[in-house]
């Protein structure tokens, strides 16, 4: 493989801000990305993840802070001077150029000799497994093939940094899984430092070395997928990591890490992720995978089944409590909608968070 990516040690975002008029789309985002890392920017829509990417690419000027590539400041450069490869959400392939010309575009703009362009485009074509398609126009390709062209076009210029803006969101579910594996394979082969924007936690968890969770233009948590999945630091991060059951209650006891809540009269004890004090309102967060149908007792809460869906290996159901809490649970047996059940889980599967402060913090 002679596609050799430019070498550097780190990309550093130093208190980067971006305002749109009165709206702060990004506020003091600081982040260091090391060579070869695959970073996922994860968050709900409007959280500032695409804005971050566009600021790094130079498509949006930052309104505060700086972006550094080792010792070189890049946020003052125009996008064409930064040389970062970018994969767009709608691919943005040039419709009048064929696959070969699309992929070779960046090299041609750099005035490279034709022989070199041909050789590198051939390598990129084989890397994304598109040999034989090189003379087609983008309009003649399937969504997945267009995606591959977009990736090849971004990496053939050998950028220090590859930026991907929700590259899989336009593909159907099956193709999405396939291309996800492809992106991982290409990353493994090239070792390209990558920043990947997504709102899909599964994508972020499966692809990234580190995940950056953004919310309202602020970094909420940075960590390895396992860390974020098992130990989200905030309630909203937990919400994003699949903790779909949120039980609001009063703190009745705190014993070290262990916190006991009173939720509609039931005693729920879990691990505190934030400081909570006795008497305050707090949330117990439980993954739907961890909430099972069981006996009455500790950590169990009574509920009425609303729906039950067959998912092959198991059933997934929804239920509500007398106090109006909604639950998503799993079950090995089918339970009748309308029946009364008890939902329960283990202590260590319950995370306790303080009640979030309303509005932006």
């Amino acid at each position: 493989m002679t596609i050799a990516l430019s070498q550097f040690d780190e990309v550093r975002l130093d208190r980067v801000s971006r305002d749109f008029g009165a709206l702060n789309a990004l506020r003091d985002v600081s982040l260091t990305i090391r060579r070869g890392e695959f970073i996922a920017l994860l968050g709900p829509s409007g959280c500032g993840k695409s804005t971050t990417l566009n600021c790094i690419a130079g498509l949006l000027p930052v309104t505060g802070g700086a972006i550094w590539l080792d010792k070189n400041r890049v946020d003052t450069l125009r996008p064409e001077e930064r040389g970062f490869g970018m994969v767009f959400q709608n691919y943005a392939l040039f419709p009048h150029l064929n696959v070969r010309q699309n992929i070779g575009f960046g090299l041609k703009m750099r005035g490279r000799p034709k022989a070199e362009i041909d050789r590198k485009v051939d390598e990129a074509l084989s890397l994304v497994r598109l040999q034989g398609q090189e003379n087609k126009l983008p309009g003649q390709l399937s969504g997945g093939q267009q995606q591959r062209v977009a990736i090849a076009r971004a990496i053939v210029i050998e950028p220090p940094l590859v930026l991907m803006d929700e590259p899989l969101s336009n593909l159907d579910a099956k193709l999405r899984l396939e291309m996800r594996a492809e992106i991982r394979r290409i990353h493994n082969e090239l070792g390209a430092t990558t920043i990947y924007v997504t709102h899909d936690q599964d994508e972020a968890l499966s692809l990234a070395d580190r995940i950056v969770v953004l919310r309202d233009g602020v970094v909420r948590q940075v960590g390895a997928p396992k860390e974020l999945y098992e130990a989200p630091a905030h309630f909203d991060v937990a919400d994003f990591m699949g903790f779909r059951n949120k039980l609001r209650g009063k703190v009745v006891a705190v014993e070290g890490d262990r916190t006991i809540l009173d939720v509609e009269g039931a005693r729920i004890s879990g691990v505190a992720r934030e400081r909570v004090s006795v008497g305050s309102t707090a949330y117990a967060a439980i993954r739907s995978d961890d909430l099972e149908v069981g006996e009455a007792g500790p950590n169990a809460i009574a509920a009425t089944v609303d729906t039950i869906e067959y998912r092959g290996r198991e059933f997934v159901g929804t239920a509500h409590s007398a106090g109006g809490l909604d639950f998503v649970f799993r079950s090995h047996v089918s339970v009748e909608p309308g029946s009364r059940i008890h939902l329960r889980t283990e202590d260590e599967r319950i995370l306790v968070f303080a009640e979030p402060v309303q509005g932006r913090q």
Partner: protein, 303 residues
């Protein structure tokens, strides 16, 4: 057994209506009838009438006499070159002005205000523009007076009643139309394409040259044709602002003179036919050149 309903035997194929619909001919198709009648009465009939009339010379002679006369009299056949010499440069100047302005306007937030200002001349009408230009650019107009006051010239520049007067008037009245068409083509191109080209290292000029221009060419060709046809049929400004006996004796003046000064409708029709075929020739040539360019959608992909 009797309770079992008999399915109606399938003896007939689909009804006439269904068969017509399958060929794309349904009730909605009937809505084109008013437009068809309109076009027949106001375009096809006069055209056919004029075409036949042009082969029936007033002064007698064989059926091609009018055409022979046109192409043997320099006072007549030179009008073709004179008209082209006005219409083609004017159209090119309008396009060359419209493209960069459209590129700038595309990025503006107060697009509507600027577009309104630029489009205003279209609502003025040729005669008002001519009057304005006569006042402004005439020997006693503000423009010449200002230059004289500042001592930049010693005697007034002759800017109207010649080629340049008509040229200026055609640019002013033709530009809004050219601009609006160009703007719609420019804004039809997905801005992500330019962003992609920028991240791939293309400078502003390269992005225009390699991305925008090839995608715009088919649209610019159509814009050229429509603007050209407008400029080619110039009449009022050639009379009011030009030298209708000299360099701006355009073909429509020749036709009008034949028809309404010599009362030779047959000759007038012949000139109108020649005018039509010259326009058609240019338009066909330009549209045919579109085949050299990509003509598909100008967005990224299916998306």
């Amino acid at each position: 057994m009797d309770a079992v309903a008999h399915a109606p035997a399938v003896e007939h194929g689909p009804s006439l209506r269904q068969r017509l619909e399958a060929r794309g001919f349904d009730a909605v198709t009937l809505l084109v009838i008013p437009a068809a009648i309109f076009s027949l009465l106001l375009f096809v009939y006069p055209f056919a009438f004029g075409f036949i009339l042009s082969f029936e010379p007033k002064a007698g002679g064989d059926w091609l006499a009018n055409y022979r006369r046109f192409f043997s009299d320099p006072f007549l056949y030179e009008t073709i070159a004179k008209t082209l010499w006005l219409a083609i440069p004017v159209t090119l100047v309008n396009l060359l002005l419209a493209v960069p302005i459209a590129f700038r306007v595309r990025l503006m937030r107060r697009q509507r205000l600027l577009t309104t200002l630029l489009v205003l001349p279209i609502t003025l009408g040729t005669v008002l523009v001519a009057e304005g230009l006569l006042n402004y650019l005439g020997p006693q107009g503000w423009f010449n007076r200002t230059l004289l006051t500042f001592g930049l010239i010693s005697q007034p520049l002759k800017l109207v009643h010649n080629y340049w007067g008509v040229f200026a008037s055609l640019v002013i009245t033709g530009f809004p139309f050219t601009f609006l068409l160009t703007l719609s083509y420019v804004t039809g191109i997905d801005p992500a394409l330019e962003q992609a080209a920028a991240t791939l290292g293309a400078s502003a000029w390269q992005r225009f040259r390699h991305i925008y221009l090839p995608l715009l060419m088919p649209g610019l060709a159509i814009t050229f044709c429509l603007s050209f046809v407008q400029a080619f049929s110039v009449f009022p400004s050639a009379v009011l602002l030009g030298e209708p006996a000299g360099p701006t004796r355009v073909i429509s003046i020749a036709a009008a003179q034949a028809a309404f000064e010599e009362y030779d409708y047959s000759m007038g029709s012949a000139i109108a036919m020649i005018m039509g075929f010259v326009q058609l020739g240019i338009v066909v040539a330009v549209l045919a050149s579109r085949g050299l360019f990509y003509r598909g959608p100008a967005s990224g992909a299916k998306g």
